[in-house]
C-alpha cells in the first residue's frame, strides 16, 4: 500500500468525518456524546489500519502465548493414549463474544483432531452455538481433507440449563475419560464442577475465557489458562486470518492510547489543582444523550 493512499485513508478521512460531526449540518447528529463518537471513530480507524496492513502481507509481530503451545501438546497426548478430546464451548449464546472466540478455537482444535485422527466430542448448551460449532467443525475437517471423519454426532445439544449441562458434561467425562479437555468460551459458576471432574479424570486441561470471575478456578484446577484478552488474542492467532491478527494489533495500540489518556487525565487533575493549567477534563466526559427522547 503506497504511502500516499495510506495517509489519505487513515488520516484525512477520519479528520473530515470529525469535522462534519462537529459542524453538525442540519442537526443530523445528536449532541451530548461527542467523546464517545470521537473515541469510537479513532479506535475503529486504528483497527482498520492494522487490518489493511496485515492484509497486505506485512508481517506483524505478536508475542507468543504459553497456553497456545499447550493445545497442540494436549491433542497429541490424547491421540497417543487413544482417548478422545472433549471441547466445552461455554454456556452462553452467540451474542456473547467469548462464545464466538470459543467456536473459532474449536475450528482450530477440530483441525488438529482431524490431522491426528482422534475423536472429538463437543457438548453444547445453546442451540445456536451447536449449529455454529457444527459448521466450524465441518469446515475444519474439510480444510484438512478428512470430511469422512466428521459426523454430526460429535457436536450435540445437552440442555439450556446451566447446571443440567454441567452434570451432563460431567457424565461424559466420567464415561469417556478424555485425555485432553478444552474449556473455551463464556463460563459461569459451573466451571469448577467441570474443572474438578476433569482434574479427577487426569486430563490435560486448557481453559480460556473472558468471564473474569471464573479465571481463578481455571487457574487453580487447569494446567494452562488464557486470561481474558489472551483468550481473544489466541482466537486471532488460531484463525490466522489477517483481519483477526490485524485487529489484535489495533487493539494493542488503542490500549496504548487508553494508557496515555489515563496519564493525561491524571496529570491534568494535578495541574488543575495547582492552577498551572486550568482546563477541567471532566466536562469532556458526558455520555448521555440530551434533548432527544423517543416517546
Amino acid at each position: 500500500m503506497n504511502e500516499l493512499k495510506q495517509y489519505f485513508y487513515f488520516l484525512i478521512i477520519p479528520l473530515i468525518v470529525i469535522a462534519i460531526y462537529f459542524l453538525n449540518p442540519a442537526d443530523i447528529f445528536v449532541n451530548g456524546n461527542e467523546l464517545s463518537f470521537v473515541s469510537i471513530l479513532i479506535s475503529c480507524f486504528m483497527i482498520e489500519y492494522f487490518i489493511q496492513k496485515s492484509k497486505n502481507g506485512e508481517d506483524i509481530y505478536l508475542r507468543p502465548i504459553p497456553a497456545m503451545k499447550a493445545m497442540e501438546e494436549a491433542v497429541g497426548r490424547a491421540t497417543e493414549m487413544g482417548s478422545s478430546v472433549l471441547y466445552v464451548p461455554g454456556i452462553a449464546g452467540l451474542d456473547e463474544i467469548d462464545t464466538i472466540s470459543g467456536v473459532i478455537i474449536l475450528g482450530h482444535v477440530a483441525g488438529m483432531t482431524a490431522e491426528y485422527e482422534s475423536d472429538l466430542h463437543v457438548p453444547c448448551c445453546v442451540p445456536i452455538v451447536m449449529e455454529a460449532a457444527r459448521e466450524s467443525c465441518k469446515e475444519a475437517y474439510l480444510k484438512k481433507g478428512r470430511p469422512d471423519l466428521y459426523n454430526d454426532r460429535m457436536v450435540h445439544y445437552v440442555t439450556d440449563d446451566q447446571f443440567a449441562y454441567a452434570a451432563g458434561v460431567n457424565g461424559i467425562m466420567l464415561r469417556e475419560k478424555p485425555a485432553a479437555i478444552f474449556y473455551q468460551g463464556k463460563f459461569y459458576a459451573e466451571s469448577l464442577i467441570l474443572a474438578e471432574t476433569g482434574n479427577s479424570v487426569g486430563a490435560i486441561q486448557v481453559a480460556g475465557t473472558g468471564s473474569s470471575s471464573q479465571i481463578p478456578f481455571f487457574v487453580t484446577a487447569c494446567d494452562y489458562v488464557l486470561i481474558g484478552e489472551e483468550f481473544y488474542a489466541a482466537s486471532a492467532y488460531l484463525s490466522g486470518s489477517p483481519e483477526m491478527i490485524g485487529s489484535i494489533k489495533g487493539q494493542d495500540y488503542v490500549k496504548l492510547l487508553c494508557m496515555l489518556f489515563i496519564g493525561a487525565v491524571f496529570l491534568f487533575s494535578i495541574f488543575n489543582y495547582f492552577e498551572i493549567f486550568t482546563f477541567d477534563m471532566m466536562t469532556l466526559f458526558k455520555i448521555n444523550i440530551e434533548g432527544y427522547s423517543v416517546n
Partner: protein, 243 residues
C-alpha cells in the same frame, strides 16, 4: 399424619435434594434419574414460560390483537420477526437449514452494534474518567488512588501483545501480574463464600423439612436412601468383579 398436596411436595423436594447430593458418594442411579428429570423439567419450564410471557403476548398480541388482547394494537410489520423465528426452527430440517442464517445474522449483528457503544462508554471512558485525582480526599485515599493507577497501567502492560516482555516492559508486566493475581485471589475468596452460602441455604431447607410438621421427611428419606445406595453399590461391585 396429615397428607395434602404440600406435604407430598415437601417429600418430593427432599427426595430430589438428596438424590442430587448422592452424587457426592459417586455417580449412581439416584443421581442420574434426578439429573435427567432436571434436564427435562428445565427445558419444559423454559418452553412454557417463553411462550406465555414472550411469544404469545409480544408477537401474537400484535398480529391478532382482538384474539390475544395483550394490550398491543395491530402492527403488520411483526410478520418479519415471525418469519425469522420460523426460519430459526428450520434449522432442524437439513435441506432448509441455511435459512437459519438470517435470524442468527440479525441477532449477532444487532448485539455487536450495541456492544460497541456500550462497552466504550461504561467500561473504558467512565473508568478513565475515574483516574482523575480528587484532592478533597485525605492523603491516605489519594495514595490509594495513585496505587490503583499504577496497578491499572501495569496490568494493562501485561496484556500488551506487540512487544516481547523483556527488560523494562518485563518488570512492569511482572508488577501487573501481581495485581492481577491479588484480584484473582479476591475472586476466589468470594467464590468460596458464595458456594458455602448456597449450601447453607440448602441445609436450612432440609432442617426445616425434618420437623414433625412435615412428618420427619428428611430423616426417613435419608436413611432409606443410604440403605438403597448401599445395596446398589454392593451389587455394582459384585457385578463388576465377575465381568
Amino acid at each position: 399424619m396429615i397428607l395434602n398436596l404440600d406435604i407430598i411436595g415437601v417429600w418430593l423436594s427432599v427426595l430430589m435434594t438428596l438424590c442430587i447430593l448422592s452424587y457426592l458418594y459417586g455417580d449412581n442411579p439416584f443421581y442420574k434419574i434426578a439429573e435427567h428429570i432436571f434436564v427435562g423439567v428445565s427445558a419444559g419450564y423454559i418452553f412454557a414460560l417463553t411462550w406465555w410471557d414472550q411469544i404469545w403476548p409480544n408477537l401474537f398480541g400484535r398480529l391478532f390483537p382482538s384474539y390475544v388482547d395483550a394490550g398491543f394494537d395491530f402492527s403488520p410489520s411483526y410478520i418479519i420477526p415471525l418469519i425469522l423465528g420460523i426460519f430459526m426452527l428450520f434449522r432442524l430440517i437439513p435441506s432448509l437449514s441455511w435459512l437459519a442464517r438470517f435470524p442468527i445474522a440479525f441477532i449477532v449483528g444487532m448485539a455487536a452494534g450495541l456492544k460497541v457503544y456500550v462497552y466504550i462508554n461504561s467500561n473504558i471512558l467512565m473508568q478513565i474518567q475515574n483516574s482523575a485525582i480528587d484532592f478533597s480526599k485525605s492523603g491516605w485515599e489519594i495514595f490509594n488512588h495513585i496505587l490503583i493507577l499504577v496497578g491499572v497501567i501495569s496490568a494493562l502492560v501485561y496484556f500488551f501483545f506487540s512487544k516481547e516482555h523483556k527488560g523494562a516492559i518485563g518488570t512492569v508486566s511482572k508488577i501487573g501480574i501481581y495485581f492481577l493475581m491479588i484480584k484473582f485471589g479476591a475472586s476466589f475468596g468470594f467464590a468460596v463464600m458464595g458456594r458455602i452460602s448456597l449450601l447453607i441455604g440448602r441445609f436450612e431447607d432440609l432442617i426445616n423439612y425434618s420437623s414433625e410438621q412435615y412428618n420427619y421427611a428428611t430423616p426417613i428419606i435419608l436413611i432409606s436412601m443410604i440403605i438403597l445406595l448401599g445395596i446398589w453399590s454392593f451389587q455394582n461391585n459384585k457385578s463388576e468383579k465377575n465381568n
